[in-house]
Amino acid sequence: MNKPVKTFTTIALICAVTLAATHWLTENRIKHNRQVYALAQLAKVLPNVNETLTKLPSTALVYASHLNAEPTGFILPLTTTQGYNGSILGWLAVDLNGQVRGIRIVEHNETPGIGDVIETARSNWLNQFIQQQHGSALFELKRDQGTFDHVSGATITTRAVTRAIGKTLENAQPVLVNTTATGKHSDD
């Protein structure tokens, strides 16, 4: 083997070993951080900070929330691709009857300063959905003969989120009735 190739191989080996060692050392910590971060984002949707979350096997009801071992409700995934730019992802907390307790949008690419009214940190627009449930309102904007206010300049964004909330609640309704019913059954 000539000298340049030997040098290159040696340095590549040293780099590979260092990287592998660091990866091995930090792997668990990174995995742990990822879980903590995801749960912290999720817990923000709950009105009570002391509530705990347990993962459910269902795809419609992703987490069950408990306060002092008493079930308080469920967390539903909120997704839509009808926004202004890319998909919008969030979480919806409902109580055992399907009434909305809290909403958070955790990922979106809407226009900063215009479409980001769907972020709780920037606007209380999402609050109008609190305590609504499937059938309690028409999940459309007022300008589409629905129940909810839109935000000027962000009609597409707010329309997408409003419809997504309605759709999520509607889809979860049968599962919710089922789960609550079987839950009661097992209590008897």
Binding site: K3, P4, V5, T7, F8, I11, A12, C15, T18, L19, T22, H23, T26, R29, I30, N33, R34, V36, Y37, P112, G113
Partner: protein, 222 residues
């Protein structure tokens, strides 16, 4: 001539990687909407530049013409990956905000440029000082741009500092005014403010030049 003073002056002012060489602008403009993210990326770039300059200068006698560039890229990419892993392990929330741009540091020409131009042909002490000064120059520009954009665009300063300083720093936020100008938080605003900073630097240098060349009598009357 290589001298400590020249290297320091080059890195921070005369040959500043961001203001004069205009290198690494993509991450520079993308993360500078808040001071905290700007500082985060600035410090990581500084660390990577420092370590890559050090390592490349250390092995400079083994860098054959044919494999010089691949080895430099290898060392830089490894340093960036190491920094990225540590960031994920110890500052996960910061990583959530600037992670994409940390990986892009590999492509920051300022780093390969320093490795190629200086580190691969100078003693370790010069290479380390150069890495430190170039990194500081980059960090300073990021900090100034980040502060300006946060003050103009959000009306705050030091917001979200807790993600690098720990939870004790969560109330460091200064609310300066209630008239945020949206433009400053968007990419065009970043370009405008960055342009103003370059213009201001050129103005300072020009004024300095003029003062030096003017006759003494005129200097007094000005």
């Amino acid at each position: 001539m290589i001298s400590y003073k020249n290297i320091a002056f080059d890195g921070i002012w005369r040959n500043n990687p961001a203001l004069v060489q205009l290198l690494g602008l993509c991450p520079l403009l993308a993360v500078s909407s808040h001071l905290v993210t700007a500082l985060g990326l600035g410090v990581i770039t500084l660390i990577v530049l420092l370590s890559s300059n050090f390592l490349i200068s250390l092995i400079r006698n083994h860098l054959h013409q044919q494999v010089r560039l691949p080895i430099q890229i290898l060392v830089i990419a490894s340093s960036v990956t190491l920094a990225d892993l540590c960031l994920q392990a110890y500052f996960y929330e910061l990583h959530q905000r600037i992670g994409l741009f940390v990986a892009l540091i590999v492509t920051n020409c300022a780093i390969l440029g320093r490795a190629e131009l200086l580190a691969s042909r100078s003693p370790v002490r010069y290479a380390v000082l150069d890495g430190l000064m170039m990194g500081l120059g980059f960090l300073l520009v990021l900090a100034v741009l980040g502060s300006l954009r946060e003050i103009i665009g959000y009306g705050t300063l030091f917001a979200h500092m807790d993600i690098i300083l720990g939870t004790d720093a969560s109330d460091l936020t200064l609310h300066l005014h209630n008239f945020p100008i949206l433009l400053a938080t968007l990419p065009p605003g970043a370009f405008l403010i960055f342009g103003c900073i370059i213009a201001f630097k050129n103005y300072l240098e020009l004024r300095h030049e003029r003062r030096k060349t003017l006759p003494v009598s005129q200097q007094i009357t000005r």
